[in-house]
Symmetry: C2
Subunit: 353 residues, 2 copies
C-alpha cells in the first residue's frame, strides 16, 4: 500500500490489531451530503438478510468535484471512508471492495481520475468501483441488481438505466444550465421567473408572488433578484418546491402548469432511457423496475408529482414496476460493491475449474 500524503486521516489504524473480518464500503456522494456505509462481506450463495447488517455509517458534506473542486472532494471522500472503517473497528486491509457512487461523474475521464487516487489509498487486493451516484440509487431499489431504470429528482434530476446484459444509458443530469427542467431547481427557478414576469407585465398574475415573497420574507418582487444572486446555491432555490406545490393545490394555474411541465420533463427522461435500452421489449410491454428517488418524487401530497410521472410513463410502457427504495443510496452502493465482488469471484472460480 502506497503511503498517502493525508496520512493523519488513517492514524486510527495504528491502534488496531491485524486480522478482523472482511468488509465492503458503499459511498453515496452528492452535492448536499456524502454518506458511507460499512457492511460485512455477505455469503455469496444465500439470499440477502433483512434487515441488512450495517456495521457503521458515516456522514460528511458535499463531495461533488464540480462544486467544491477536486482536492476538497477527494479529502471529504477519504475522511468519510476512514470514519466508517474506524467506527466499524476495521482497517483498510479488511476491505474487500469499495463502490464510490458520486455525483459529477459524467464522463469516463471523471471515473478514471477518481479510480487513480482511490488506488493510492487502498491495498492492491481491494476491488474499486466508481459510478455516478444515480447507479447507487438504482441499486438501493433493486437490492444491488443493475437492471431497470432509476429516476432521481431532488435539487437536480437524472434518469439512468441498465439492461440485464450490462448496457447502460442516461438522460438529463446535465445540471441547471443545461436544461434539467424537471428538477427541484428547475421547478423553483420557473416559479421565481413567473413572479418576475407577472411583476414586469410579461406574464399573468399568480399566487406564487405572495407565497414566495412571504416565504423568503421579502417585500417586493424586485428584491428577488438580489436574493437569487446572493448565494450561488441551487439547493437554496430548489427548497421553494413545496411553495409551488401548495399554490398548485390551491388552484393557481401558473404553478399548476409549472408542475405539469416538470412531470412531462421527468417522464421524458425515463422514456428516453427505456427506449434506448429497449427495456420494454419489442412491444414495449416487458416489465422492468423503475426506482423513484428524491424529494420532488416523494412529496406525497395531493399534487403528487411522483404519481403523475409514473402514470405518464406507464401509458407508454405498461410493464413499468415502480419501486420506492427502503434503504438509502449508500446501502445501494455497498450492495453494488458486494455484487461486483460476487460476480468477479465467481468468474475467477469458473476460470480455475
Amino acid at each position: 500500500m502506497k503511503k498517502y500524503k493525508n496520512g493523519e486521516i488513517w492514524e486510527f489504524e495504528q491502534q488496531m490489531g491485524s486480522g478482523g473480518r472482511q468488509v465492503i464500503l458503499g459511498l453515496d456522494g452528492g452535492t448536499t451530503s456524502t454518506v458511507c456505509i460499512c457492511m460485512p462481506v455477505l455469503p455469496f450463495s444465500q439470499p440477502l438478510p433483512d434487515p441488512l447488517p450495517v456495521l457503521a455509517r458515516s456522514v460528511a458534506g458535499c463531495s461533488n468535484h464540480n462544486s467544491i473542486g477536486e482536492s476538497a472532494a477527494r479529502e471529504t471522500l477519504e475522511q468519510v471512508m476512514a470514519d466508517a472503517l474506524s467506527n466499524s473497528g476495521s482497517n483498510r486491509s479488511n476491505v474487500g471492495a469499495v463502490c464510490l457512487a458520486v455525483s459529477g461523474v459524467n464522463h469516463p475521464t471523471d471515473q478514471q481520475r477518481i479510480l487513480n487516487w482511490l488506488r493510492d489509498i487502498f491495498p492492491s487486493h481491494v476491488r474499486l468501483y466508481v459510478q455516478n451516484d444515480a447507479v447507487a440509487a438504482l441499486a438501493s431499489g433493486t437490492m444491488g441488481k443493475l437492471h431497470g431504470c432509476v429516476l432521481i429528482a431532488g435539487t437536480g434530476t437524472i434518469a439512468y438505466g441498465f439492461t440485464e446484459d450490462g448496457r447502460e444509458a442516461r438522460a438529463a443530469g446535465a445540471g441547471p444550465i443545461l436544461g434539467d427542467w424537471g428538477s427541484g431547481y428547475g421547478i423553483a427557478a420557473q416559479a421565481l421567473t413567473a413572479v418576475v414576469r407577472a411583476y414586469d407585465g410579461r406574464g399573468p398574475e399568480t399566487m406564487l408572488t405572495s407565497s414566495i415573497l412571504q416565504t423568503l420574507e421579502l417585500s417586493a418582487p424586485d428584491e428577488l433578484i438580489g436574493w437569487t444572486y446572493l448565494e450561488p446555491s441551487w439547493a437554496r432555490i430548489a427548497a421553494l418546491v413545496p411553495v409551488v406545490v401548495s399554490c398548485a393545490e390551491a388552484g393557481d394555474q401558473v404553478a399548476n402548469n409549472i408542475l405539469l411541465d416538470s412531470v412531462q420533463e421527468l417522464a421524458l427522461s425515463v422514456k428516453a432511457v427505456v427506449q434506448r435500452l429497449g427495456l420494454g421489449g419489442e412491444d414495449g410491454k416487458n416489465s422492468f423496475p423503475l426506482v423513484m428517488v428524491g424529494g420532488v418524487l416523494e412529496a406525497n401530497r395531493r399534487w403528487d408529482i411522483g404519481k403523475e410521472v409514473i402514470n405518464c410513463i406507464s401509458k407508454a410502457y405498461p410493464g413499468t414496476l415502480p419501486i420506492r427504495p427502503k434503504v438509502e443510496p449508500a446501502v445501494g452502493a455497498a450492495l453494488l460493491a458486494w455484487n461486483f465482488l460476487t460476480n468477479e469471484t465467481q468468474n475467477e472460480v469458473g476460470t480455475k475449474r
Copy 2:
C-alpha cells in the same frame, strides 16, 4: 470634501493648480467592462455639437457589485473616474455633475447605497445621479433625453423605458436564473441544452451538435457538462450565439426555433414596458424611440435578430422608431448628467425670478 480612505487614487490632484473649466463625468459600468467619459459642460441653450467634445475616456474591468462584491466594484468605479479626470487635466472641484450608470442597480436601496459612498468622494456642490446601465444606453440613442424605450441584448437582456413626464418601467434584466431567455446567454444555454437532449434521446438531432463541439474543441456531447461548469461565466456561454445563428442560417430547425423564441422573448419585454407606460398612446400608434443595443441585436447577418424583433414590436406599435446609437453608453451617461444639470439649473433660475 471628506478625506476618503483611498486617498492615493486622487494623489494626482496635488500636482494640479486650482481653476480650470467645469466638466461632467458619465460612467457606464457593466459586468464585462467599465467606461468613464469626461466632457466639458456644454452651453444649455445651444444644440449639441457633432461630434461631441470628449476630453478623456478611461476603461476598467467589471463593476457589477453582484459579480465582484461591493468594495471591489466601488474601487473600480472610483479608479476609472480618477483616471478620466486626471487624463482631462481636471480635478474633483471642476466636476459639475456625475452620472453613474451601472448594472446591478435593481432596487432603490442599490441606488441609495451607491449614492452614499459617491457623496464621500466628491465636493458637496457636485450633482450625483445613479442609474441602471440601461438608462445610459437609452440616452446614448436619444442624445440624453429620457423618452422611449431601450432594449439591450448582449450576454444579458433588459428593456427599460421612460415617459416624457418621468415615469419609468423595466422588464427582464433579472439575470440568467430568472428567465432572461432572449439574451445571448439564454440563446446559447438553450443551444447547449438542445445538444444534450439530442444526445440522450430527449430531443431531435441538430447541426448544433457538430458546430458547437467543433467550436469548443470537444469530442463528444457528454464533455459539454464539464465544459459548462468549469467556469461560472455567463459571457463564456453567450459567446456561442454566432454558432447558433450560423446553424439557423444553414437551415437547422432546432437552431431556428431557438432564435425565433428569442425574438418573441425580446419583443415581449419591450411590449410590456411600452404597454405599462402607454408610450404608444391610446390607439397604440403614437411614435416613440426604441433604442437597440447589444451584440445579439447588432449581428447584421442574414438571420438578423434585431430586425425580427423590430418587426414583431412594430406590428403592435406601428409608431416604433428604431435607433441604433452612434455613441457609446458612457457618452449617454455623460449626456444624462448634462441634462439633469441643465434641468436643475433652469429650475433654480426659474425659482429665483
